[in-house]
Amino acid sequence: MAFISSGYNPDKPMEDRITDIGPKKYDEFYPPIIAKNKGKWLYHEILEPGVLVHVSETGDEVYTVRVGGCRLMSVSHIREICEIADKHCDGHLRFTTRNNIEFMVDSKDKVAPLKEDLLSRKQPGGCYKFPVGGTGAGITNIIHTQGWIHCHTPATDASGPVKAAMDVLFEDFVNMRLPAQLRVSLACCLNMCGAVHCSDIAILGYHRKPPLLDHEYLDKMCEIPLAIAACPTAAIRPAKVDFEGTKVNSVVLKEERCMFCGNCYTMCPSMPLADDVGDGIVIMAGGKVSNRISAPKFSKVVVAFLPNDSPRWPQTTEVIKKIVEAYAKDANKYERLGEWAERIGWERFFEKCELEFTHHLIDDFRDPAYFTWRQTTQFKF
């Protein structure tokens, strides 16, 4: 493995340096039919799950076939996507915000061969490489974070639970039987790179044990004042601690104040929270980002903890499936999961989803908590 230079000269880093050029301009990549009809689209229609047509005032039509993708993707897989796009779509494609891939063609007769090609490609274990679906009143791809594949703070994996959940929810990826779209998202810790806090169903990794304190190294690896300032509940204070007979500068913890957010660990690597038993999954439900009918909503915690039962997280997928089925059975047409829960009342939600309501689900975090308690005599038996 010999080092091959790109042309960069480490002795003169500024020589021929190009910086601040930003991304490629979007219109370099538009398929011709998109470039021609931009801003002129009249309407669209979902012809079947995963297949859309957009019709322009020029009379042009663009047909889109949407397929699910793992956001974790190899260059071999991307090259295969390119091969398909070269064969069917004149070398153009796009990705969606939710990690789906969209292949666009300019006439209807090109749809069936494209779809057939996509569905014929499978991985060695039989998984679809390019499942067609993810449109309309169904479940589209799960957006997610890195998890154990690349992150230093996760309380669960990301790609693993997503694969397990999408296998269980697959019928609703390729179908449109639900009352409205249902968005599932996963964040492997509450930093929420994935911003799952407004999803119909959110899978959230969470710790349940306070940080370990690596007294031997804490003062050497961390700025103690930053670690203290990082704690939102003032559970950490500076202290001289006995370490193998000598006094070292470190911190002590008021464990009953810890809410396990992990912010201290972000600032100080000598305070790790990760634990095989302590870590696991919180299920939240009823959020949305759309302004349609009702205002955007935060997701609410409906299951306080489920263990990391890898590799397939059966307890997590079972809860999700139960919520989806109860919603599918009971909600009105167009009603999002959170709108349904609010209409029937959260007491009914727990009953219909067969979930236990425990004390963990009552908010006790600062002022907003009060506004989630019930200040009316109206409730359901």
Binding site: P23, Y26, G69, M73, G91, Y128, M176, S310
Partner: protein
């Protein structure tokens, strides 16, 4: 023969959904075979070791990645996230496994030529594993070594005319919805605005000078497909202020069952015949619609543009012609003091190049936040700490009832001296002439 046994991960290679495990194995095999005789610049077995370390996490229930180190490219403070494995002896291929964020194109449209060029570069100088895309929107190159960072950056900028994205306390890579490129609901050109601001604020994007991260997201309409209202410090959401355009003939085609409601989104179940009263009129949040004698009537002045009727009958109803966007500010995920949605700041602004009016708002907010924001305080948290009034003061925007859900329920107004006739200076002796002690 695989380098590490992965009995747990292997269980994720069945079922209908694409398997990331099979995909990483495919890349591992491809590198082992090396049919194209590539002089790999990082360990050839990087993918094997990635599977190995992931299997260990699956077994133990804990991650094996350490905090990022300070790595990057010269002159930038963002775009590269250092990552080291905490079991380097066992998995030397991923001992150094840094991430590079590559600023994605607007709307995430690609040519295969460009994607293949990226693949060639990343196979040669990195792990060959990516995220398409990261949560913020970037193309994520997952896993390379420190000496390759400058080389990759050089090749990106010199050969592909492509820059890195943001990370750390800077402007994060802005992202947009598909917009007018292929959506009839888009009220402005999300890609044009996103691109313009990204280019204008390259310095803020590459060189961390902010108290914390700052996100721009561009949604073409209130359906909010890129979730700007939930996760952007500044959310740009398309809207209009005139009338919804109605095609009465098409309305009756929906009523008559000739057109499928909601663009066919509900075809997986028999919901019975379309009922415009039940499915549109009664669900309108402002009750501003009537359907009588075969004619749909909308009281547009009362409409709050929730998009429901348009979503249900896209062939009959279209967004208005006097379009622009609303700017909402301050969204963030829960860490630390709870999640926040963006709050309405500018109800309506026209979207016209060179977007000076929009930039004035941005820069006034940044000035305030950079002056007053504490270390790692998001804009939304500063707003909570100093109040919405303060934000109006620094942006010079007039208070507007559209900015709140309701007026305050307490009278604890922080009156300023200049607002009260005669000021706060008073004479206690004068007061005592009329009021005994």
């Amino acid at each position: 023969m695989a380098k590490h046994k992965t009995p747990l991960l292997d269980q994720l290679e069945t079922g209908p959904w694409p398997s990331f495990v099979s995909d990483i194995k495919r890349e591992a095999e491809s590198r082992a075979k090396n049919e194209r005789n590539i002089e790999y610049q990082i360990p050839q077995d990087v993918c094997e070791d990635l599977l190995g370390v992931l299997e260990l996490s699956f077994k133990q229930g804990r991650t094996h990645w350490k905090h990022g180190g300070i790595v990057g490219v010269f002159g930038y403070g963002g775009g590269v996230i250092g990552r080291y494995c905490d079991q380097p002896e066992q998995f030397p291929g991923v001992a150094h496994f840094h991430t590079m964020r590559v600023n994605q194109p607007g709307g995430k449209f690609y040519t295969t030529k460009f994607l293949k060029d990226l693949c060639d570069l990343w196979e040669f100088r990195g792990s060959g594993i990516t995220n398409m895309h990261g949560s913020t929107g970037d193309i994520v190159f997952l896993g390379t070594t420190t000496p390759q960072l400058e080389e990759i950056f050089y090749e990106l900028t010199h050969n592909l005319n492509q820059d890195l994205g943001g990370s750390g306390s800077n402007l994060r890579t802005p992202s947009d919805c598909i917009g007018q490129a292929r959506c009839e609901y888009a009220c402005y050109d999300t890609q044009a605005l996103c691109y313009n601001l990204t280019q204008d604020y390259q310095d803020e994007l590459h060189r961390p000078a902010f108290p914390y991260k700052f996100k721009f997201k561009f949604d073409g309409c209130p359906n909010c497909c890129v979730a700007s209202i939930a996760r952007a410090d500044m959310s740009y959401i398309g809207t209009w202020r005139d009338d919804i355009r109605i095609d009465q003939k098409a309305v009756n085609a929906y009523v008559g069952g000739e057109l499928a409601p909601n663009a066919g989104a509900h075809s997986g179940r028999d919901w019975g015949p379309f009922d415009i009263q039940k499915e549109v009129i009664n669900l309108c949040p402002t009750n501003c619609m009537r359907y009588e004698d075969g004619k749909l009537d909308i009281n547009n002045r009362e409409c709050t543009r929730c998009m429901h009727c348009i979503n249900v009958m896209p062939r009959a109803l279209r967004i208005g012609n006097d379009r622009g966007l609303s700017i909402l500010v301050g969204a963030k995920a829960p860490i630390l003091n709870g999640a926040q949605m963006s709050t309405m700041l500018v109800p309506f602004i026209k979207v016209e190049e060179p977007y000076d009016e929009i930039k004035e708002v941005i820069e006034a907010i940044w000035d305030w936040w950079m002056e007053e924001g504490k270390n790692r305080e998001r804009l939304g948290e500063l707003m909570k700490r100093q109040g919405l009034q303060k934000l109006l003061e620094v942006t010079g925007l007039k208070p507007d009832a559209r900015m709140v859900q309701e007026p305050r329920a307490n009278p604890y107004i922080f009156w300023k001296e200049e607002e009260v006739e005669g000021g706060f200076e008073r004479d206690i002796n004068e007061f005592r002439k009329y009021h005994q002690r």
